[in-house]
Symmetry: C2
Subunit: 201 residues, 2 copies
């Protein structure tokens, strides 16, 4: 690209550092910004900056939070009897959107991945164990992705927690609601048969 | 989406105002930013802000510019004998990338579009005529998009300039280099036949 302005070039470079945004898309975004009122652009810049300057991690569950404690941990209607372990806050948001879970969360901040050099100390696993020592938690529900890293992390967690008087569960794997059996992959279909549930009329 | 943090929600809202970026993509971008060092995020926010606070329009050609005059107008090797009229600075950048044009530019800032209420006074057409009055320009090359608005603008410009001792040209329309005749649309193919050029061996 042949830039005639250093300021435009710098903005394109910065925006194209986003995953999935190339230089052409970044230039389109810059052109869009140039046409917006200054106040709106300032608001965008400020919102981005606040992510690093004002956002913090909840002291209890390591969810992103505007204050020392996150909205879930602050909520007196949520019980710590069940703690749902998730990889990241976007998974937490997805579960919150289902309105099916009334317990609290623990955000690991990643998954174990020896290949990428991510070990137990890089995650909040130690903090989870410390937390379990001081709470009345009865169940730990692991809601982690169904991939190698997720499986590794679940195995590690289950081993770590097995000596405690806890029920350790993981979310059900199976055919998606609305999914057709014909098109399901073998592993999912196999698991949905092995872990079949009683059909209650 | 169920946000547990107002700061994250605000950033997602702001980023999803970009064209082509929905809330899910915006959330992915926010998650990416959260993992980057503060300095990098501050640089991004600053680059965005500078687009409105420091960028200006070149006094001569209305290209975006870091200073009073843009890099093309400042360049003593560029001649004003040919002025290339473009819709926006991204078109200027595309033409600069070809390295085929050695003249100067005039950025209209849009195209005539009565349907959208864009008239001649909303563009820099008056400034172009003023500029032509005070220069030794011999040719005006119109490099505008091949759509209704582009055609309307070219017709209007040509009418406005026809009384002057100027050659008025427009970029060639035809089959793209590498394009296959079989798949070309009828209008393009028709035009490429009507405007055929002599084949020089």
């Amino acid at each position: 690209m042949q830039f005639t302005s250093g300021i435009v070039e710098q903005a394109v470079e910065a925006l194209s550092s986003f995953p999935g945004i190339g230089k052409r898309t970044a230039l389109r975004l810059v052109m869009y910004l140039l046409k917006r009122p200054e106040m709106e652009v300032a608001h965008l810049a400020d919102s981005i900056l606040q992510l690093k300057t004002e956002l913090q991690l909840c002291e209890i569950c390591y969810n992103v939070s505007d204050a020392v404690l996150c909205n879930v941990c602050k909520n007196p209607n949520r019980t710590e009897e069940v703690i749902c372990v998730v990889e990241d806050f976007s998974d937490l948001m997805a579960i919150e959107a289902t309105a099916q879970f009334k317990g609290k969360y623990h955000v690991l901040g990643g998954l174990l991945s020896p290949m990428d050099g991510v070990g137990p100390d890089d995650l909040t696993i130690g903090k989870l164990i410390e937390r379990l020592d001081n709470s009345n938690t009865k169940e730990v529900l692991m809601a982690l992705s169904a991939n190698v890293e997720g499986d590794t992390t679940m195995f590690y967690l289950a081993k770590k927690l097995q000596s405690r008087p806890l029920i350790i569960t993981c979310i059900a794997r199976g055919i998606s609601v609305g999914g057709e059996i014909e098109y399901a992959d073998e592993i999912t279909l196999g698991r949905s048969i092995a872990q079949r549930t009683e059909y209650v009329v």
